[in-house]
Symmetry: D2
Subunit: 345 residues, 4 copies
């Protein structure tokens, strides 16, 4: 059994890590830290875990974490992980960071979107944890920059098609819709029930911090600068993210060939489910699970491809993909601890 | 007081007409018909109207309707209105039809999307009831084909910009999201609470019947064939529709000039609210009202305009615009009976 | 036109007052104050009011309020109104306070549930604003303690039956369920969307501050101490409150006589709708309106009466009843500005 | 591996059985039948199961079921199971029936609430499947009448206290609130999204068919006729049921002793979680799981006990308890296949 710890366990992504890791057959969850809830039993904060998780939260201490855990998940707001991940790595720990701090290989790109980077040395060693795409590098990494939820939903359907040069990058538009849990447990008027319920709107139009993250990865795949138009929207629901992507095809290509391109790229990868029939994917079919369901339709009038993907923003978009990356790093079965069946309703 | 009747009063659009007409200062609601509920007090079907609406439903009879009403709203599934509107018109009634039957001037376009048209003669006389755009023709019409909800949300923001040749029509993508009430009160598994709650998905991708309706109107405005890519999605909420439109600008143009184009087109039209600031419109700000709120952002990297509109699909997208059209036809103030303040939450 | 002001206009109850007063035919809304948003246009905070409400918020100043308004609504957290209402009254203003500060005639009862009372002198003059019950006293009052939402939903169905001695007070149990907007716009983890969505639970079981308020009024009606068991629950919805009350009947009594007792008490009062048929009232039939719908069933096995009431917690449970009280104080029609038709869905 | 079949697999309870059984470590799911979807792959009806469940639905045939399965779950509307369970039993199968058909030992009680019973002979052999209460009898049964969701939520908290004679049966009131999935996948206007969303109401007040079921079991426990007042309500959410029970205590008893009574009764039973602190249980803490969380508060003014329980109506209230009963019947660990961790949000 590998010993694992979660730093920042009481936010939503942290708590979701606890859910997944507490049921994982090959790891022992040994330490949970919290800035706010030191000393409080975790199940007092999340009574769902009563009788399931016996640990109490601890205030973060590098010594305690290093003593108790071999692999550390950091689920903190960006900027904080930079301050502790270098120490963890220096002490021989493997780290999977769920913030943006280790997602960019180019510190300039990070700094343009976030803030000054204080651990640039590590950026060369950290690997972008898009599990199905960078599997080999993840297997050998000791620091993972775990992808954002929006980038996961945009990149997974697009990467095979861009690699195959089937779509024209300058025409890509990604229209995403996210459940509210993506905003986390931080207090803000915009996250109040009464502000979200029976409401739908765009936000940070063409200005979301996840856009440079997507563009950096897509440019790497394409071997040239890729710029996309990205508009996130807020859904009146808790978990779930849908992205509809519009892109002009570079040439006439049959539906079967588009399916074949996607299916070949993700062959043998259990968490990617591609619909052959044009049936649009539905967020509820992936809720609580690590699946990414992908569908597509071609609008032949304009030779425009319409790609649709759905994920659970807290699972494949955060904690689930992080555990998948851990599995890859440890040489476990990719699906270990992640093979729950989705709810029918 | 003008006497008005609603044929098909017990569907959601019909019931919304009853709500708006029962509070209208210049009309008397005199007859409600229903295929299912003949003889049943309307307030037994919708107890919200207890103490407000005293009428009982009647089984449809052309004689009863013509005797009791001067203006008739038909809120029936498409195909049924074709069978009765010609008779109503022949007997001197003004008709506002909420189905698709009288929205197309070209019967071929209707027949391609729906079914054989049996009242083609009337198509030349019927007017597309997009209130702010075709006001003068509406004022003199005796048959109105009231617009669909999706077309209303797509056309209102686009028409001024297409008329001013600021956007390139072939690049237009409309990504719409609708509340469930748009599907009406008909029984279907897809409309069950447990199927929709905490769920989000696209449907009828690039294949919705409202697309030809939009294209017919946009082509008329542009003076050339306009084809767009249109993808509707289903929101886990009751009322409200948001459309995000992507289109390449035909030339470099300042944000102020885009605002000016929209503002000039809708000058003096109370129900169109255009945001100058880029703040995305939110469906909850229009719920229960006849407003259409419009916002926009330019993605300068691609010279791509992002337009956003929100309406209440049952009001501006159906019953409210129908009442607005009646007001225009009767020479009343456009806002009569429609000046309710939206809820803050 | 009477000039009215709202002190504390940016909370949910305050904003709902703005909605109702801005559409009221006999008043002019002249001043809105806010502790947080001085100088900000009200429609920037609640864009729903764009084009409807032109006022900007002001930081509270007693002079400004007194200069601009004849009637003042105070919609502040309890304790704050005590500090300003005496001044307003001293300067000849009529005040309708939506907090608990002026709901109790006995300062001890207030202090047991809340905090030290610093304006006890006014308690003798203030009137409990349960509009249909204390109409005459309200008509002559210059300070109204506007009822809480839970008490309104419990008291309206119970008072006629207690007055008629049809139920045994010691057996009364009130099981209430409230939408989240009742918690207001204050930041708290418990009010976050992700904490409430798809969740239902009791809270403050037999310990809610509204219980002494109910008991004080019921005791006054009964002429003897009345203690009830009251359990509030939180509903995953925004507006709406349902209360199911259980009480043993004091004697065998026919359903018709129970209906007659309720109907006689509320004869001529438009906002109280009593169901004769046993059909349980539904919160959606009163949403956005000032109605209180009441239904009942007798469980003959136990001679136990089951009463059900529904209100919109922000309207009849707060701002709507406050406006109704203003109407009564000004000698206007009770329904002025409050005669909106509920939504069918 | 035991071979299991689900008759009626496409309703919500049936699909939930498929979810739980497909992930169960000790059984093979070998046959799914459906009246509507013969020949259709199960994952086409519920795409959530794509890649998880490979079976196609079959039209029911007693021979096929008996050939392929050792244990059969019947998840059909009441009345249908009576027609097939006797045959299954005659052919040596163990049956767990989720309808009401085998819940009553007294056929008269069944017939008063439902319809004529055509398999009365089996009633003497069938066991009421309240897993924690009738464990021993379940272990030796070959027909289980699996409890209804409401009875499960009412009986589990009440039975220990009634057995210990701590509450006065004639004073019991149970106020229950259920998510919509309890109504199943059958088409009805009342189950449409737009009818339920942002709505809350009681239904079948003191007249629900589950009430005789509860009373039969409680009477057996008490050794005397027990009649309760039961009022169900419909919640605007999908899964989850909360019941608040009010009952007068038979004598003064400390909170600790109430806790001890409950804790002793359920000692060692993992799915019953009892709160010692008075913190009310929340439906979201049990969603998707087989837990029943119980809390209580004493209203000392009236010596009235307030018990609260929450379950997932589709799991502990239906499919989960059915699987738990199978585990008991097969001598497996009670929690096999049911040990999923709940979601934190």
């Amino acid at each position: 059994m590998t010993r694992v710890g979660v730093v920042g366990a009481t936010g939503y992504a942290g708590a979701e890590l606890v859910r997944l890791l507490s049921g994982h057959p090959s790891v022992d969850l040994t330490i949970l830290t919290s800035r706010q809830y030191g000393g409080v039993p975790f199940a007092d904060i999340y009574p769902a875990f009563s009788g399931v998780v016996e640990l109490a939260c601890e205030t973060f201490s590098i010594d305690a974490v290093c003593e108790k855990a071999d692999i550390v998940f950091t689920a903190l707001p960006h900027k904080l992980p930079m301050g502790i991940v270098p120490d963890l790595v220096a002490r021989g720990k493997k780290v999977i960071d769920l913030s943006a701090d280790f997602r960019f290989s180019d510190p300039g790109a990070y700094e343009a979107a976030y803030t000054a980077h204080t651990a640039k040395d590590l950026l060369g060693r950290s690997v972008y944890g898009l599990s199905e795409v960078f599997t080999d590098r993840i297997a050998h990494a000791d620091v993972i920059g775990n992808p954002g939820c929006y980038p996961t939903s945009v990149l997974l359907p697009l990467i095979p098609l861009i690699r195959a040069e089937l779509v024209i990058p300058s025409t890509i538009v990604a229209d995403s819709k996210s459940g509210v849990s993506g905003a986390g447990r931080a207090l803000s008027v915009a996250s109040l029930y009464s502000e979200v319920d029976e409401s739908f709107k765009a936000y940070k139009v063409a200005a979301h911090r996840h856009e440079p993250e997507m563009e950096a990865i897509l440019s790497g795949i394409a071997g040239a600068d890729v710029n996309i138009t990205f508009v996130p929207h807020l859904l009146p629901m808790n978990r779930g993210m849908e992205t509809t992507i519009y892109a002009n095809l570079s040439r006439d290509i049959a539906d079967e060939d588009i399916f074949a391109c996607l299916a070949a790229f993700y062959a043998g990868r259990r968490f990617i489910r591609i619909s052959e029939t044009g049936r649009p994917p539905d967020t509820r079919n992936v809720r609580g699970t690590n699946y990414c369901d992908i569908g597509f339709v071609v609008d032949r009038d304009h030779r425009r491809l319409i790609l649709m993907s759905v994920i659970d923003n807290l699972v494949k978009g955060a904690a689930g993909q992080a555990v998948q990356n851990m599995n890859i790093m440890l040489g476990l079965k990719e699906t270990a601890g992640l093979d729950m069946t989705p709810f029918p309703v």
